[in-house]
Amino acid sequence: MIAWLNEFLGFLPDPLRIIAVITAQIVPLVIVLILCVAFLTYFERKVIGYMQNRIGPNRVGPRGWFQPFADVIKLLVKEVVVPSKANRFLFLVAPLLSIVPALATWAVMPLFPGYAIANIDAALLYILALTALSIYGVILAGWASNSKYAFLGAMRSTAQMLAYEIAMGFALVGVLMAGGSLNLGVITEAQSGGILSWFWLPLFPLFIVYFISGVAETNRAPFDVAEGESEIVAGFHVEYSGVAFAIFFLAEYANMILIAGLTAVMFFGGWHSFFAGSWFAFLDGTPLAFLREPSLAWLCVKIAFFLFCFLWSRATFPRYRYDQIMRLGWKVFIPVTLVWIMVEGVMLVAGVGPWRT
């Protein structure tokens, strides 16, 4: 595909052609992502509604399918109110700082066999670095708003994100030990085979820790003390309205999709098929043989499942108290990950387990 793009844009001078080819890959991905975010908001309301015995939005378009567009139009035509005494520049930059890392991380996501926009070797570190950057949007939004609720929300979410980033990093260490590389494509490659050779089985505690930390990183329920509607109104984005608020919203949901995608790639075999294992060898030669092929569709299915888990846990669990969140992060998750990395090291040395050395 890249070769084709290069040929198609061959008439351009070299530096321009490189930029054009990269842009031609980024733009469709970002558009698809933003559409996904739009419909994720719709599905969130639907799923939570269904779990509460309601039917959710159903007025705009057939069964409410156009609800996200209605929401977007509403937010776009609203005025962006900048509070008096707010720090105008940082106030307006903060939403951008939260959306950019959420989208930029997708550059290293292995979407289908042999393809990622940027197939870099240090992809895992890149992901960690960019998730660390997303704190800035929150902390600056809280500070620049010149509002105590926003500031409290920013403080809470910064401390929370810093704490869970460590657990997340340790979980990734486990993945990189198992995959033998920092490159996400290689990590996915290492999980080839059926469901049982994906990393979720040998790394089960790390998978649980990673997913829960992911929920905490994105400030989603039950870890949404940063928003805490009942205590601090809406946390760091109380003062935002219109497009600026929409961007925060976009960033939150893009981050959700990202965490779901990373969980799928690192623990659930990315684009590998459910039916790839030898158990399903009987499918070969039948019209269903294509189900055994690795493809983007499998990644999408897995992402959708983890997104459902996000919504499911939001519909189920009450919000954590702040000190309990901190205890969970520091006193439970970090020791659990450390212990499991030890166990994994022993298994690696002893030669037990499905991973390659």
């Binding site: 269904y50 509460q52 015995n53 039917i55 499911w312 189920t316 669990f317």
Partner: protein
């Protein structure tokens, strides 16, 4: 023993799984939402909605300006002024109900000796301008005239239980 089992429970996230099971079960339960403008929930004949003033069959106002409703009203939403009418009877010259103050308790209806002020089953009404929340005598009488059928039948249905 119990410590071990509780540790297993904690680390297998057992309690969380139970909670998740509950929500997942409800996810597939048949939904009970009433699609409001198209569908409506059944109403009791005792439903207490918008107020109205009734008349007798001969067109005479029922209200005798006894001010019992004004007295009993817990929200002080009713204002009544009275005078002697042309035919020498005691009649209201002003009968205002402030819909913003009213709490729809129905005490006025209970207190009324002539069944003049009633609460109808109408609940879909709105105000567009300031001041429209005051229901004056003309508006109340007009409502009473318009919905006399509904009001009368509701009273008949409920009569055995009063």
């Amino acid at each position: 023993m119990s410590r071990i089992s509780s540790a297993i429970k904690t680390f297998s996230l057992w309690d969380l799984l139970i909670g998740l099971r509950v929500t997942l079960r409800n996810f597939f339960v048949k939904k009970v939402t009433v699609q409001y403008p198209e569908e409506k929930t059944p109403q009791s004949p005792r439903f207490r909605g918008l107020h109205a003033l009734r008349r007798y069959h001969n067109g005479e106002e029922r209200c005798i300006a006894c001010k019992l409703c004004q007295t009993v009203c817990p929200a002080a939403a009713i204002t009544i002024e009275s005078d002697v009418a042309d035919n020498g009877t005691r009649r209201t010259t002003r009968y205002d109900i402030d819909l913003f103050k009213c709490i729809y308790c129905g005490f006025c209806e209970e207190a009324c000796p002539t069944d003049a002020v009633v609460l109808t089953r109408i609940y879909e009404y709105h105000m567009e301008e300031p001041g429209q929340n005051i229901m004056n005598k003309d508006k109340l009488l007009a409502l009473g005239d318009k919905y006399e059928g509904m009001i009368a039948s509701d009273r008949t249905t409920d009569a055995p239980y009063r």
